[in-house]
């Protein structure tokens, strides 16, 4: 099985349902390079599935273009788009065997019987289900059904592979295994893939690039690390991972995305941030809870920080008000002087635990703070 690598570009794609005020998808642009796996990530109602269905041809856009390999596909009916799609419910045909399900797309392409048989065999072998070819979908487990759906979508050698929440019906263990399996198959075949999910772990784990969608627009489109470390908006920062926001009182641009930021809590720091922030109003520093260090007040040992403690970095006093233990991480909530609460994720260490009521000191590394603007 191979794949003709395709390039997908969405230009000003818009979907406005009749009798609604705001568009479900608001003129988005997206560029997916050959062989890339791109995740559309966002909460319910953000427009990610609507976008995917427009690409698949299951929904007509209100405006915009869907360009695959230079050709606009708007107006091309679904069955002529040559894409492979895996549905959230898998949508396996209950009246057909596994082999008939997988062979369906090939049959529609009127391939010779022999070739259909061989390619079905090959596709089922790829997902390790060749021994179940004659079963009916109802007799398969969820994970097996998922693999059949994947084989069925891929056997037709689609220009694009579209996945709509493909793992959401699986239990947690199986989900992680399937992530790796899908990713490996995708990389091996090099099929350009668009992937809809509301699960940030899934997106961070699998995607080459993530498009965070919010209220019908793409809030940020970037590789996973950049999404996490350099969120473009407060929404992105909260939606992907946990975030502490420390409101800025004064922001001075230093050029090249660097700022001098004052805040009540931390004083004045020099940090990186989203480009183009001009005022302190609504600007805030994002600090991830696991990048903060914490020690009991008066203890001499260095705070446990993700890296090492930076000399001269700000240290803030506080008191633990909540503590949750999850095995390798202890999540603390600490009251700090400006009336705010700071979340801290601390890697657990044997025989050392902070308890509710403990007076602590929190250490910040300015390099771990990132300035986001009003949007």
């Amino acid at each position: 099985m191979s794949s003709a690598q395709a390039h997908l570009e969405l230009r000003g794609l818009n979907k406005t349902y009749p009798n609604t005020e705001s568009p479900a998808v608001d003129s988005i642009d997206l560029n997916v390079a050959e062989g890339e796996l791109v995740a559309l990530l966002g909460p319910s109602g953000c427009g990610k599935t609507t976008t995917l269905r427009m690409v698949a041809g299951l929904l007509d856009p209100s405006a915009g273009e869907i360009v695959v390999n230079g050709k606009d596909l708007v107006g091309t009916p679904v069955h002529k788009r040559g894409m492979g799609m895996v549905f959230q419910s898998y949508a396996l045909f209950p009246h057909m065997t596994v082999a008939e399900n997988v062979g369906f797309g090939l049959q529609m392409r009127k391939l010779p019987r022999k070739e259909v048989k061989d390619r079905v065999q090959e596709a089922l072998a790829m997902v390790q289900l060749d021994h179940l070819a004659q079963r009916r979908p109802a007799a398969l487990s969820g994970g097996q059904q998922q693999r059949v759906a994947l084989a069925r979508a891929l056997v037709v050698e689609p220009t694009l592979l579209l996945l709509d929440e493909p793992l959401s019906n699986l239990d947690a263990k199986l989900r992680e295994a399937m992530r790796r399996e899908i990713k490996q198959i995708q990389q091996r075949l090099g099929t350009t893939t668009l992937f809809v999910t509301h699960d940030q772990d899934e997106a961070l784990d699998m995607a080459d690039k993530i498009a965070i969608m919010h209220n019908g627009v793409i809030a940020q489109y970037a590789p996973p690390e950049e999404i996490f470390d350099r969120p473009a908006t407060r929404f992105v920062a909260t939606f992907v991972g946990k975030a502490n926001f420390i409101e800025a009182t004064e922001v001075v641009g230093r050029g090249g995305g660097r700022y001098r930021v004052s805040s009540d809590l931390l004083g004045t720091l020099e940090v990186e941030g989203v480009e183009g922030i001009e005022a302190a109003e609504d600007a805030a520093l994002v600090v991830r809870p696991h990048r903060l260090g914490v020690r009991r007040r008066g203890e001499s040992s260095a705070p446990q920080i993700g890296g090492e403690i930076v000399p001269g970095g700000p240290v803030v006093p506080g008191r633990v008000v909540d503590s949750a233990y999850t095995g390798n991480v202890r999540s603390l909530v600490v009251d700090v002087p400006d009336g705010q609460q700071i979340m801290i994720d601390e890697l657990t260490v044997r025989d050392r635990a902070l308890a509710i009521g403990d007076e602590v000191e929190i250490a910040f590394d300015p390099d771990d703070a990132f300035l986001v603007g009003s949007r």
Partner: protein, 312 residues
């Protein structure tokens, strides 16, 4: 998510997963107790069935073994003379044949006409869906007699259709659309359609819009989606609708009687004539028993067919 979000199924559940209903009461030996309790719950229904169906059918069977004496007198005896009389008379074979043909005709027409409606009603995402379904079955609120007279007003010699055809000069004498098999069948189809629509709606459970979309995404044209996915998946509903209309049609009496013009000879009208005009109760009972056997045969065939669909 958008309104078009696909419905979420539970595809993971294997057939064996459907677990037994939980025991009604906790405690030891509750399984046998539960069984007795369930049986007790059935008793009112069983008594009703016994009184309203089984006993009358037995009485009818007994009656069919009596004989029709001279001057129409009823002779208490045990005899299969009435069955012999029916089965050796080509006229009654013709009646049975007419009944089956009318049943099949009505069922086929009702299914063909109801299918698109039922499919639309199942699929529509309109907020008026409930109202639309209610509208589709609203004719059931009117009695079959009233609707039959409605059809007489439409199909009669001075009815709507003939008036229009005559006025337009398409025909010179009215078309005979009432008082025959044609009129009875047309009216019966319309009268029974709500039943087939209901049966189909409830029988379309396996149909899921995502399946049709999946077929489309795999390269199936609209026509292929219909023949390869929609039709096979709705077949059980079609069978149920067909059977329901069939049994209702072969037992229908009012419409063939009111619109048959004395030209439609089917089991129900013959039973009525023998029971109330000729006063040959044994023969009427024998005909009714034969009708019951015809019912039974077709339900057997139906269950075979459905089983085959389920498996194959």
């Amino acid at each position: 998510m958008s309104a078009a979000k696909t419905t979420q199924g539970t595809p993971g559940a294997a057939p064996g997963d459907t677990s037994r209903p939980a025991p009604l009461l906790p405690g030891r030996g509750n399984r046998s107790r539960t069984r007795w309790e369930l049986l007790a719950l059935l008793i009112p229904g069983l008594i009703g069935l016994l009184l309203a169906f089984i006993l009358p059918v037995l009485a009818m069977f007994r009656m069919s073994l009596n004989e029709h004496g001279t001057a129409g007198a009823l002779v208490e005896t045990i005899s299969i003379a009435s069955y012999q009389a029916v089965l050796s008379d080509p006229f009654y074979w013709q009646v049975i044949w007419n009944t089956l043909v009318m049943g099949f005709g009505c069922a086929l027409a009702a299914v063909v006409l109801s299918y698109p409606l039922a499919l639309f009603l199942v699929r529509t995402t309109s907020k008026w869906k409930g109202v639309l379904i209610a509208l589709a079955i609203a004719p059931l609120l009117t009695s079959a007699v009233a609707r039959t007279f409605g059809w007489i007003a439409i199909l009669g010699d001075q009815g709507m259709i003939n008036s229009v055809l005559l006025a337009l000069g398409v025909v010179e004498t009215p078309l005979r659309m009432n008082n025959n098999m044609f009129g009875s069948t047309v009216a019966l189809v319309e009268i029974l359609m709500p039943y087939s629509i209901l049966a189909m709606i409830s029988g379309f459970g396996r149909l899921n819009p995502a399946l049709e979309e999946a077929a489309g995404s795999l390269g199936a044209s609209k026509f292929k989606v219909f023949t390869k996915v929609t039709l096979p998946l709705t077949l059980p509903g079609i069978f149920t609708g067909f059977l329901l209309v069939f049994v209702l049609a072969i037992s229908a009496f009012v419409t063939p009687r009111l619109m048959g013009g004395g030209r439609v000879f089917i089991l129900a009208t013959e039973i009525y004539n023998e029971a109330t005009q000729t006063l040959n109760w044994p023969l009427a009972s024998a005909l009714a028993m034969i009708l019951l056997v015809v019912f039974g045969l077709f339900i057997l065939l139906y269950q075979r067919a459905v089983k085959r669909i389920d498996q194959g």
